[in-house]
Symmetry: C2
């Protein structure tokens, strides 16, 4: 078994981006600028957004962090989105999810200008991806594609089984893996809460992707010998031995599954860092496409 | 084995639409108006477009058929698309595919105003469908969903295997079937030319959808006893016994497969008429959504 080291791979990608940013700067061009909107005090959201800002600093992007308390109205949030849509100094921006319950996440996602949607959540980007047109690819699924590529795991002709059909991971993952494209071309099965024969489906997988948010759900008896296992789960479980008071738990029972599979992503240090690398790649792309920097 | 009679089901839907159009008319509202652009002399395209116009007549829609010879430039075609986008008397329109090789089909598809894209091919509609937002659903996949519904075949929890990943049938079909929605909720496997174990995959299918355009490709030994079989193929094979000189061939070897399955769509008379019914449903929806008719 080999660990798919998302931290190391993400660091390599960040170094590549940093070089590109240096050459942009030395040729007198504007460097990429990412803005992030954070609403409320959700612990996970704060950690993720801080990690994104830190990554921007590392690669030499400008970044702007905009914080609101969780009493902000939907209208105020949408007004900030429109402001960022119009601001020519911002190449791309994200609204960290989840949002408080009184705000309609879909409405906010739809309000983001697709050409600044570096999370790749807007329907126009999802649709363009599905048709094989240039698009901002959703950060987590694309981070997984990149991780596979850099470990020379070619999905072509392989049976990929995805557990979970969320609109930000499972469903776009199924589209990316099944596309008629080098590095994709997989046979894809999309499973979820209504799937009746989940174990049977999982046991067929050459590449198995767990994205349901249930700690340690995927056990060794659901995994074929030699499979590649990708763990997208990041649940927080109380852990008094940690300074933070919690530990991150993946969807995979790592200890038992790792004895059976060929490759596996750890949690933390697997998919998470790749998501951030992917966000930086999208922001760099947005910058290159922007009218004033072309 | 029971035949899934697309002709009969489509006729029922057309009668329902006709009633709705009558009540629109009697309440003084504008009736739906579909325009179709046909380029060149492709036999299949002419047949399909004529069938669509005839269906409009039947249900009481206005229709406009715009014909160009196959020497039309991309620019001229795009200019007609823009004109229809702006024309408030047109609720929806289609550009019949395929187009001559010198015209970029994707460019034309992208030029259509998503709110008049009653074929459901525009990335914005595909993306909205994928996110479960209101959208014009692609006509063929949605016609298949409707056929299943009217025969009370509920895909929930079933394993649906789709052969073919085209952007107008296979890929959107996988999205529609796997959605978290009543009448969907299937476990979906998307297979294609790079799939290595196609027979093994097909033999697992509770619902098997063939959409590859290879006459009689799907044989009985690829079908599980009692499966539901949907045949999207419509290849034209020379046949001197027919007045037209050809016969329509599906992707399924009907005679042998029909002995094994529970339900099957014939070709012709299965999926084809449902596609037209779906197009009419989308056009009616576009009309209801239009500003002057709400």
């Amino acid at each position: 078994m080999q660990k798919l080291d998302g931290r190391k791979t993400s660091a390599e990608i960040k170094d590549e981006i940093r070089e590109e940013v240096n050459s942009l700067r030395s040729s007198g061009k504007r460097v990429p600028h990412l803005a992030a909107i954070l609403v409320g005090e959700d612990g996970g959201s704060i950690t993720y957004v801080n990690a994104k800002v830190k990554a921007c600093d590392y690669v030499g992007f400008d970044s702007t962090l905009i914080k609101f308390n969780d009493e902000i109205s939907e209208e105020e949030l949408l007004s900030k989105v429109h402001e960022l849509n119009e601001d020519p100094s911002i190449d791309g921006f994200i609204v960290q999810l989840p949002l408080p319950k009184h705000i309609d996440e879909k409405k906010v996602t739809l309000a983001i200008n697709p050409s600044k949607d570096v999370d790749g959540f807007h329907p126009e980007n999802i649709g363009r991806m599905s048709l094989g047109l240039p698009a901002f690819l959703p950060a987590t699924p694309n981070g997984i594609m990149e991780l596979l590529k850099r470990y020379q795991i070619d999905p072509e002709g392989k049976h990929c089984v995805i557990i979970g059909r969320s609109s930000i991971v499972g469903t776009p993952m199924s589209l990316l893996l099944s596309r008629n494209k080098k590095g994709a071309n997989a046979t894809v099965s999309l499973c979820h809460s209504r799937t009746k024969n989940l174990k049977e489906m999982c046991l067929q997988a050459d590449i198995l992707i767990a994205a349901i948010g249930k700690p340690y759900f995927l056990k060794a008896d659901m995994v074929k010998e030699g499979a590649v296992v990708i763990d997208v789960g990041t649940s927080r479980l109380p852990d008094s031995s940690k300074k933070s008071g919690y530990k991150l738990a993946g969807d995979v029972a790592f200890d038992e599954v790792s004895e059976k599979c060929s490759f596996i992503t750890p949690v933390p240090g697997g998919v998470g860092p790749m998501t951030i690398a992917s966000l930086l790649q999208n922001t760099l792309l947005a910058n290159k496409r922007s009218a004033d920097n072309a």
